[in-house]
């Protein structure tokens, strides 16, 4: 008998059905992946299984059985004992799931205190054991610390520790590695894999196909509340049948050569997935090997490129905050029409580099020249004339907009000649250029989707006709298909307007797709740099190799039983 059996699960909020007719089975020690974009209903499905869909949700199912127990008929009391003891839940945004005022050790011991009879000393010992088990170094020190004293990866591990404290037979992990650096992510995924091997059944919810492909033996693809495709991971990701699945896979930038489009060019155009870098492996561990050099990518060379013209040149930049060197002796040149990717984990100094290039911060030593003119050494008043030549887009587009302004106002504000009679027509043209309907001009950015907000930010950035745009994690908080659209838009704009991009990201797949050249940063220093394909094909430094190895790639693998 299956551990979990779901059939005909539907969830509705008022008249809106957000999940309809979802059915699947889960065996002990199996990992099932639920993939889909925001709003596809994957989180609600998980919460409904726990009886946590919310008071306004109407949950119905023909059967919702955990180990033979019908969850729908269970008393709230029985449900409570089920949660925590039998079913562990790692919620989305686990970075904020911990009480900021309590030491994490106390948080973890909660479930022990609630569900078992144990002495404080026993619980303390168990907490330390758990922390060690999930790979937290120095457990006795960490147990006494509050969440704000821990890094994102450690906090995530603490959340997982509390979820598995009672050895639940089912662990539901909702986006467990979103917002984590790739090396940290790799560690968390290894941890989940170990738990699965020990017999825990796992439901892994993610928008990231690469993450799911590493752990799940079966995948459910959800779109608009329905399962559009399901089956063994190798089959679903390797030979996707549903157009939605094909689109999702095609949108993943990893291993897609620079210049290839990630979104269908037009309605109905076929999307090829044959060349998406999909690897069929016998074991997920082998993905750790460095990617092979891809054949010379065929993409049209940028007609506007006038090679050699330096748009931004940074020489020997250093910036110290307190006792730490955030940026240490960084030099690079960004040429016209090209994209320089800056990649590194959080704390590697890449955002500080962006701020120095935008002259929002002064370097302690070294300087940046923009279009050959002194830039960081000039005064802000002198810089003002050159400001229109450099633009910026950020990860959080919304917070970069004045909350009182409409979309039209924001874009008009960026036009160099200010508000004039021509502004209206120009705003319309800009919005259409970035793929937005002109009618959004009257709306406030808050009411737009994340992808639309980023398009508004791009419209604002190109309004002043800049030569270079600094992109700081511009697609990091977007769904993969929206991310693909935004990356394609940036690529189109680069081609048409001859823009140069300084592209900062922690996402190796994205950086490889967009950049001509790449800088790999660690602890404020450039550890490796060069043409993207060369660096990716043959990373020379140990750190670069480790970083690349940790990048999750879509790799399907056959369960041992299916191996020939």
């Amino acid at each position: 008998m299956s551990l979990l059996s779901v059939s005909g699960l539907s969830v509705a909020f008022g008249a809106r059905t957000v999940v309809s007719d979802v059915s699947f089975e889960l065996e002990p020690g199996e990992c099932i992946g639920i993939v889909g974009e925001s709003g596809s209903g994957k989180s609600v499905t998980a919460r409904a299984l726990l009886g946590l869909a919310g008071r306004r949700a109407r949950v119905s199912a023909s059967s919702l059985a955990f180990d033979g127990l019908e969850i729908q008929d269970a008393t709230p009391r029985r449900l409570r004992s089920l949660r925590g003891r039998e079913i562990g839940y790692v919620s989305q945004g686990a970075l904020v799931a911990l009480d900021p005022l309590r030491p994490v050790g106390r948080e973890i011991s909660d479930s022990l205190r609630l569900h078992t009879s144990s002495t404080p000393a026993q619980r303390r010992a168990r907490v330390l054991e758990l922390l060690a088990e999930v790979g937290v170094p120095e457990p006795s020190l960490r147990a006494g610390q509050r969440p704000d004293e821990l890094s994102g990866g450690l906090r995530q591990r603490a959340v997982i520790a509390s979820a598995i404290a009672l050895r639940p037979r089912l662990l539901i992990a909702d986006e467990p590695t979103t917002a984590l650096d790739s090396t940290v992510q790799a560690g968390i995924l290894d941890l989940l894999e170990r738990l699965r091997e020990q017999g825990t059944a796992l439901i892994l919810i993610s928008h990231d196909l690469a993450v799911v492909s590493r752990l799940a033996s079966r995948v459910l693809v959800m779109n608009a509340g329905q399962i559009v495709e399901s089956g063994p991971t190798a089959q679903v990701l390797g030979e996707p049948r549903h157009p939605y699945t094909r689109r999702l896979i095609a949108a993943v930038p990893t291993d897609r050569p620079r210049g290839t489009r990630l979104t269908p060019a037009a309605e109905g155009a076929p999307v090829s997935v044959g060349n998406s870098g999909l690897q069929v492996l016998d074991d997920p561990k082998t993905t750790v090997s460095a990617p092979e050099a891809t054949s010379t990518p065929e993409f049209p060379t940028n007609p506007v490129v006038r090679a050699g013209a330096a748009v931004v040149s940074a020489s020997r930049l250093s910036r110290r905050f307190g006792g730490t060197l955030a940026v240490d002796d960084v030099s690079f040149t960004l040429e016209r029409g090209r994209t320089l990717g800056v990649v590194g984990e959080s704390g590697s100094g890449k955002t500080t580099v962006a701020r120095l290039v935008l002259a929002l911060d002064r370097p302690d030593s070294g300087d940046v020249r923009l279009l050959g003119e002194p830039w960081t050494t000039a005064t802000e008043r002198e810089r003002r004339a050159l400001r229109p030549r450099i633009g910026a887009i950020y990860q959080d587009a919304l917070s970069s907009f004045d909350p009182r302004m409409t979309v039209g106002g924001i874009v008009a504000d960026a036009l160099t000649h200010g508000r004039s009679t021509r502004a209206g027509a120009e705003v319309t043209a800009l919005l259409e250029r970035v793929g937005l309907d002109a009618t959004v001009a009257g709306r406030r950015p808050l009411h737009l989707s994340g992808g639309q907000q980023q398009r508004v930010a791009i419209a604002r950035a190109i309004a002043a006709k800049p030569d270079v745009i600094v992109c700081d994690e511009p697609v990091s908080s977007l769904d993969v298909s929206v991310q693909a659209q935004v990356l394609d838009l940036l690529d189109d704009l680069q081609r048409d307007l001859g823009l140069s991009y300084l592209f900062i990201t922690h996402d190796l797949g994205v950086v490889r797709h967009v950049s001509d050249d790449v800088l790999v940063m660690q602890h404020g220093r450039v550890v490796e740099s060069g043409p993207t394909e060369a660096v990716f094909a043959d990373p020379r430094e140990a750190y670069t190799r480790a970083l690349f190895a940790s990048a999750p790639r879509i790799a399907v693998w056959r369960a041992p039983s299916e191996r020939p």
Partner: protein, 264 residues
Amino acid sequence: MRARYFVALAVIAFLALAALAPSVLAPGDPLAIAPLDSFQPPSLSHFFGTDESGRDIYTRVIHGTGASLLIGIAATAIGLGLAIVFGLLAGFGPRWLDFGTTRFLEVLFAFPGLLFALLFIVVYGPGVVTSTIAVGLSTAPGYARIIRSRVIQVRTSPYLEAAVVLGRGRTTRIVRHVLPNVAGALFVLGTLGVGQSIVWASSLSYLGLGAVPPAAEWGAMLSAGRTYIASFWWMTFFPGLFIVLSAAATTLLGRAIQQRGRES
């Protein structure tokens, strides 16, 4: 939820009418005495009853609205006006100015608001004008702190940085982004503050430090009725009711505006 705000708006509209054209609602003279009619309980001829001199309390409460509201609004205006100066100095000024202003505000904060108002009145003598200024002064530090933090919050926000990237000068940034975004908060503060100021000004009048009897002012009426509270409840109840109503209505309205600001 919505209904609450309509009630609040209706109360405010009624109070505004009473303040601007009291004779429409109560044609009588608030100071006219009629010794034979003293201490009448509420009835059809005297809605709120009469006081010890036979003055109609309904007429007095309505005619007192203007004075009470004016004190509340003027005090808030004084408080906010001072707060804007201090808040902007601290928020925009160089670090030493921010430090100095903040420390100065902290010293003012050390006095409980009403005590500070009392001190001011002790020095400058009781009366409507001094009590209004006193209430304004004592509310200023609180507002100033909020304005300062709001200025700093907006000034360091990503959208101000985006304006720097667009090459906007300091003046443009302040005029186009900082001030309008701070003004939204000010409006809410002001509306919320009027209710509080009415209560404080009434408190001062009650203590005999603001408007003095026989002037028709809520706090003063409350004070006059105190002697008779055990026998003639209506003398204190109705002025008190209006103080509560006006404070509650303006506060509710302020909350509603605040809520809308958050949602949009």
